[in-house]
Amino acid sequence: MSQVAMKHPGSKGRFGGPVVKAKDSKGTLIRIWNYMRKEKAPLILAILFVLLTTILGLVGPYLIGIIIDEYVIPKDISGTVRMGAILAVVYLALSFFTWIQSYIMIRVSLVTIKQLRQELFDQLQSLSLRFFDRRTTGDLMSRVTNDIDQLNNALSQSVIQIFSSVLTVVGVLIAMLYLNWMMALVTICVIPIMFYTTKKIIKYSSSNFIKRQRDLGELNGVVEESISGLEIIQLFGQEERVFDRFSKVNERLRTSSANAEIVSGFIGPVNNFINNLGMGLIIASGALLTLHGLATVGVIAAFVTYSRQFFRPINQMSSLLNTFQSAIAGAERAFEIMDEVPDLQDKRDAISIDVLIGDVEFSNVSFGYKEGIPILRNISLQARAGQTIAIVGPTGSGKTTLLNLLTRFYEVDSGEVKIDGHNIKDYRISDLRRNIGIVLQDTFLFSGSIMENIRYGKLEATDEEVIRAAKAASAHRFIKHLPNQYDTIITSGGNNLSQGQKQLLAIARAILADSRLLILDEATSSIDTKTEIEIQSGLRNLMEGRTSFVIAHRLKTIEHADLILVIRDGELTEKGTHEELMAQKGFYYESYRNQFEMG
């Protein structure tokens, strides 16, 4: 009675579905230990306290038994008061050490987790795009958040609980055997029943949970798709059809969810029953034994308390182990990321360089994102510092890919890319990228103020520099009309700005970065023509004296490029100035005529 059991803890947690097991539990455990080792001293202290609290927890009921038999029943008031005081001290110590022990473990576990989380994030920063292409953001997110949190729970609570549960069970067993071996045997009899029923319920409930999880996943998919595509559904009058689809899944979920919850809800009453059964057996056998002089009332009292201490850890053991197991599996998923070797790394003797000149050369470059599916074949080109190179071609022909190689987002499969006469692999990646300013097709802004977003191009820029860059990109015009101007907060992903406005900010960001090479990948596709004229001069200023690569659908904007490259199906098919290509009457000529014939 000195310890408290949480009965009916709800269905979550204990039977939250099937447990994912780690592939290599042992290896993962060792790695976790390596992180925790730095906290060895507090850890040992915590373990000592667990030992201490377990023993104190056993002493309590034992003392109660003695007090009843030797002091209360013989009506020894002063003796009872004295022993009661000792009991109070024991309980005080018990509470105090219990708290200290979890206090220490929380610290140990959080410090460990903090380091793990940071290392995981750092690792993500160093991995190349190829890695991110293979994984969804959601998957990576859940590894850094959920998986790590689970491990935290296990470290700060489950580990200690499992440890103290085992100690308690063993300790109680010894105490019971010592007090009265016959009653102890009766108590032990309940254990097989407990194991059997728990196992049955877990087996049955986890198969139900799998069904529920599947239906829930499907339902989430339908809801997400329908609500984000609501406008289309309404425009095409498909409300009923979509509703039917939703209803079907929802009905299925009604059944599977009820089944899963009902079965997992059984665990509470069943555990309660087993506790009561055990208690009943103890009282009954104790009473009978007492009648025959083989036990005492004090022993019964001690047993009643012990039986709670005894059954509860056994009841909880399976769910504790489950928590622990899924935490190990989670840690393993996190370690998987840690083990990824960044496929793009600086060479050991990489050249450290401050400023590049900007001569670019591609020779016989071939590349594919997946093996066997080449995107670029045998591309060779040369650009001298300060030139503007335009790249045109149909969607999906490999234009963006070509520029992804220049920034070394990906590594060429064969051939080489040179800047200033050195293979780009010879440079340090950070030096290389610092020298290349990029405005990407999909503009991405971070949540934060407009000021902060532009400053991303040059962290140490002053407010004046930022505003100057914004003016050069024609972004100042719209920013000054915003309620908080440069302090306007952009929501995550930049949904409160139009696509065109976001592009202007991205251009400003690149202008501020002030790099020797410039990549404009459809940088003005969402900007209307009027604004485009305005930033033309800004862009021209920006491109002046820099080697610039421009991808644009509107051919008008690239007419004056020093070199125009036509890429079709991954091959360089035409190359030359506007006049030369017009004279060739090839793809460029056709496209150009099309654009201006029709408009």
Partner: protein, 589 residues
């Protein structure tokens, strides 16, 4: 709280379950409470008097009580779960049905992401709250009250201990919950911050790499990570103090019971069994108190969820069909805007001002203008995604508000800027346009949208299965599929809202050409920022700052309209282009 209460009307069909469940729980509780009492009788009446048969009788009663309790518990689980799951499923159904009727203005207000979370997570947490209420939240107070009453009746001597202890436990519990609640809210805020940081970092990984900002990102993350660790530590270390303190109080209660007990036994007013029973009831009381507060936390977490659900259910779809809707057999497609003003928010700036124009059936109309000039908004008014604030829009001479919503929308083939396609086959997607689309119609529309070219190359062609959001198609492919979906209904009114932006120039030309040839009778609006896309239109509307600043053929506008001239110049309009466009205009007619 209020919101959760309001939702309870969805429990009405299942009220039997919701009452039977807790009733069975009462049974379980009663049996649990009987146990210490039976034990007391065994000790004080059986052992003390050495009555063998009494002990046996009571022991059997003890086991029977356990069995009856088990039955009660299982039955409670069944009925409570049925009530909660059915309740939540019905709410979800209702929510979805309601959201489907939301106008664009409604969804703008609540936001798509939030609507999704409400339908999924919030409904689950309300279900959880009800389940907990029916099971644990009935159980714990009953155990608590039951214990107190039994102690009062059968062990009144020890009642003073409860009187001192219970308020103390309640105060301690309240104190911890209050502070822990505050701390855990902070934990949640920090967790949100770390999630946002992470999510953005991953989504913008190209930008991070392009600008070489890895170290900057790491430092930023480290700062939040540090905060999270600290706040988490404070919250958890605080929370972990609760149990030991409560335990200590209860254990002191036990010590007090022994002290008082020995005095009473000495006086002969009480017996040993009563002490033991009291100690048992004390433990039950504590358990009940602790689990109540845990459950209370789960339930209180559902309050904001219930509020959000209620917000959706209380939102009236602001675009409604008129009572006696006009449902014509056929719509010809004569459209007229009369002095239309429109603003997205009630007191906001007008996005469209004084718009008036007429389009005759079969006319091809181009709309051009700068970002934010109101082109897209103008088109969204025709299918009544939004309603006008002033003025009216008429189709075939009747205000569009008089039409049945379905009739109106069926007559319009709308191709939005963002091509959203749905999971399912290509054919499923085309069926969005027309329920009973035939293979021939599908091929015809797909060819017109220049989509046949890629559909043919897919496994299973029209039966090719698209993933959610059509992520296995490229942007240009999705746009062409979205065009085909609209064309398949052969609509009298066709709206292309800058819907060829991801399509290359040659494909675009082919699409525009087939619109001209195959969909002659459809009144067509083509919004674009490229003059090339609109210059062949019968008429071009030039928009700026929500107003129409010019209307006419390409040739007229080039000659007279300064805004148009400026756009034209920047897009490569030269003297010879005027000539060429002239040539095209003749070929277009």
């Amino acid at each position: 709280m209020q919101a959760l209460w309001n939702l309870l009307k969805y429990l009405r069909p299942y009220w039997m379950f919701a009452i039977i469940g807790p009733l069975f729980m009462c049974l379980e509780v009663a049996m649990d409470l009987m146990q210490p009492m039976l034990m007391q009788h065994i000790i004080d009446n059986g052992i003390a008097t050495g009555d063998h048969s009494y002990v046996v009788k009571m022991s059997i009663l003890l086991l029977a009580a356990a069995l009856i309790g088990l039955f009660g518990g299982l039955a409670c689980s069944i009925y409570s779960t049925k009530a909660a799951v059915n309740f939540a499923t019905d709410i979800r159904q209702e929510l979805f049905a309601r959201i489907e009727q939301f106008s664009a203005r409604n969804t703008d207000e609540i936001r798509t992401g939030k609507l999704i979370t409400i339908t999924t997570n919030d409904v689950s947490s309300v279900q959880m709250a009800l389940l907990m209420t029916l099971k644990v939240f009935v159980r714990s107070p009953l155990l608590f009250i039951g214990s107190v009453i039994i102690v009062f009746v059968s062990a009144r001597d020890f009642f003073p201990i409860l009187i001192v202890l219970i308020p103390l436990l309640a105060i301690v519990n309240w104190y911890f919950m209050k502070h822990a609640g505050r701390l855990f809210r902070k934990v949640q805020e920090t967790v949100d911050r770390i999630n946002t940081k992470l999510q953005e970092n991953l989504a913008g990984i190209r930008v991070v790499k392009a600008f070489g900002r890895q170290e900057y990102e790491k430092t930023g993350f480290a700062a939040i990570n540090h905060d999270l660790t600290n706040i988490n530590r404070r919250a958890n270390q605080m929370m972990m103090g609760l149990m030991p303190v409560m335990l200590f109080l209860v254990n002191i209660g036990i010590v007090a019971a022994l002290w008082m007990g020995v005095i009473k036994v000495e006086q002969g007013t009480s017996e040993v069994g009563v002490i033991l029973a009291f100690i048992n009831y004390l433990t039950i009381t504590l358990n009940a108190l602790i689990s109540s507060s845990h459950v209370l936390m789960v339930i209180s977490r559902a309050f904001p969820s219930a509020e959000r659900i209620k917000q959706v259910l209380d939102t009236v779809p602001d675009i409604q069909e008129s009572q006696e809707a006009y449902r014509p057999e056929k719509i010809k497609g004569n459209i007229e805007f009369r002095n239309v003003d429109f603003s997205y928010s009630k007191n906001g700036e007008y996005v469209l001002k004084e718009i008036s124009f007429k389009a005759n059936g079969g006319e091809k109309i181009g709309i051009i203008g700068t970002i934010g000039s109101g082109k897209s908004t103008l088109m969204k008014l025709i299918p009544r995604l939004y309603d006008v604030d002033r003025g009216e829009i008429c189709i075939d001479g009747r205000n569009i508000k008089e039409y049945g919503l379905r009739q109106l929308r069926v007559a319009i083939g709308f191709i939005p800027q963002k091509a959203s396609v749905f999971s399912g086959t290509i054919m499923d997607n085309l069926q969005y346009g027309k329920d009973d689309v035939s293979k021939e119609e599908a091929v015809f529309a797909s060819s017109a949208a220049n989509a046949m070219e890629f559909i043919e190359k897919l496994d299973g062609e029209f039966e090719h299965v698209l993933t959610q959001g059509g992520s296995n198609l490229s942007g240009g492919q999705k746009q062409r599929l979205s065009i085909a979906r609209a064309l398949v209904r052969k609509p009298p009114i066709l709206i292309l809202d800058d819907s060829t932006s991801a399509v290359d120039a040659l494909s675009e030309k082919a699409i525009l050409h087939s619109l001209q040839e195959e969909y002659k009778d459809s009144t067509t609006f083509i919004i674009s920022s490229k003059i090339s896309s609109v210059m062949k239109a019968d008429r071009i509307i030039v928009m700026e700052d929500g107003r129409i600043v010019g209307m006419g053929t390409h040739r007229e506008l080039v000659a007279t309209n300064s805004v148009y001239q400026e756009i034209y110049r920047t897009q490569g309009g030269k003297e010879e282009s005027v000539h060429e466009s002239g040539r095209y205009e003749t070929s277009w007619q």
